[in-house]
């Protein structure tokens, strides 16, 4: 179709690419071994379209990981915007972390990227979680004797540990959110 403009073609390509990522992110949690054909079917595109965007399964997984991490960050930002205080925010982030960690455990090999994303989110001024925690620290709502970056990094590792404990069956899924929330709060607000 020569009539179709380049812009429209590009838009279709972007939409197709996102459709494949969405389909993979929806399909892989239940079936981590789903093949490229199944993912193409779920996205209602041809196999060749999938391969036009992703040379192989690994490239697709990378894109899904980036997408999931992006969504996680967006949800954290939403929590921070709506949270009723630090305790509320930490518990909600903990719950989100458990949910994401369990649902997307097929991305376990991408946990370094998730860690890097959290570091960017907490690492410095201008990063959403850093700003939130830093403002809370200035108001005296979280402990003032530790850098905010340390608190956030340690909290991320504790959250990762919880996901591991639930997956290993050491902690029951239904106990996890409260246990993690209490721990995250204790790390930030020692003497409540």
């Amino acid at each position: 179709m020569r009539m179709e403009s380049d812009a429209a073609q590009r838009r279709d390509a972007v939409l197709n690419r996102q459709a494949v990522i969405d389909a993979a992110a929806a399909l892989l949690p239940a079936d981590p071994d789903a093949g490229m054909q199944e993912i193409a079917d779920a996205a209602a595109v041809g196999r060749s379209t999938v391969y036009r965007h992703f040379a192989n399964r690994e490239e697709l997984f990378d894109a899904v990981a980036a997408d999931v991490i992006g969504r996680g960050i967006a949800e954290v930002e939403e929590i921070l915007a709506k949270a009723d205080g630090v305790e509320d925010a930490l518990c909600a982030i903990g719950e989100l972390g458990i949910e994401f960690g369990l649902r997307y455990r097929f991305l376990y090999s991408h946990r370094e990227e998730a860690r890097a994303a959290v570091m960017r989110m907490t690492g410095d001024r201008g990063a959403p979680l850093w700003d939130f925690l830093n403002a809370a620290q200035e108001r005296g709502e979280i402990r003032g004797d530790q850098p905010v970056a340390w608190i956030a990094k340690a909290q991320f590792e504790v959250m990762t540990a919880m996901i591991g404990d639930v997956l290993a069956g050491r902690i029951a899924r239904e106990d996890a959110p409260e246990l993690l929330g209490d721990t995250l709060v204790a790390m930030a607000i020692p003497s409540r």
Partner: protein, 188 residues
């Protein structure tokens, strides 16, 4: 001493030497070859093979030796009756042990049966300390010991990353980890 006894005690001394040097070399460089270990011991490679028929065998012995060290040092670290001092000691010991030996286990995730057994060991000094401290009301009782161990591991891991990244000195990391662990384990 008869010549048989002499031979046996030489063999025993060699075995201990190999184990000691191998532990040191392998925790710095997990890929160190048996030849490098033999050279560092000043003995032939065949002598190593006499004690440890293959690399896997040597690695298991090294792992067991490290676990013994970890046991002894952790036990000493939690000996203080003041729970805050014991918790800080536990944090400092696990950071120190991880900095010394962590590399050896980093790429061997789940590969060493000995190490796996240690991680779930009910008699490990850290778990015993947490269990008894919890029973006598010295640390929080509303969280399972299993989870408190996970928290200690996660905080240790954070501290090591800080040291590796050059963000904190070892002393600063130990202080931060200790403060965090005290906050989690003593409140509640």
């Amino acid at each position: 001493m008869s010549s048989d006894e002499q031979l046996r005690s030489d063999a025993e001394r060699n075995r201990r030497l190999v184990l000691e040097i191998a532990t040191e070399l392998l925790s710095r460089d997990p890929q160190a070859s048996l030849q490098e270990i033999a050279d560092a011991c000043g003995i032939g490679r065949t002598t190593i093979y006499r004690h440890f028929p293959n690399r896997e065998n040597l690695l298991e012995a090294v792992t067991a030796a490290i676990i013994d060290t970890a046991r002894v040092e952790t036990m000493a670290a939690v000996a203080d009756p003041d729970p805050e001092i014991a918790i800080r000691g536990l944090g400092a010991a696990s950071i120190d042990l991880a900095l010394r030996y962590g590399r050896l286990f980093a790429d061997r995730d789940g590969q060493s049966a000995t190490y796996e057994a240690f991680k779930v060991d009910d008699t490990s000094p850290a778990r015993r300390f947490l269990t008894t401290a919890r029973e006598r009301g010295a640390i929080r009782a509303d969280m399972p010991v299993e989870w408190l161990r996970s928290v200690i591991q996660a905080v240790t891991f954070t501290a090591i990353n800080e040291v590796d990244a050059g963000t904190s000195s070892i002393e600063e990391a130990v202080q931060l980890a200790g403060d965090t662990l005290v906050a989690v384990l003593l409140t509640g």
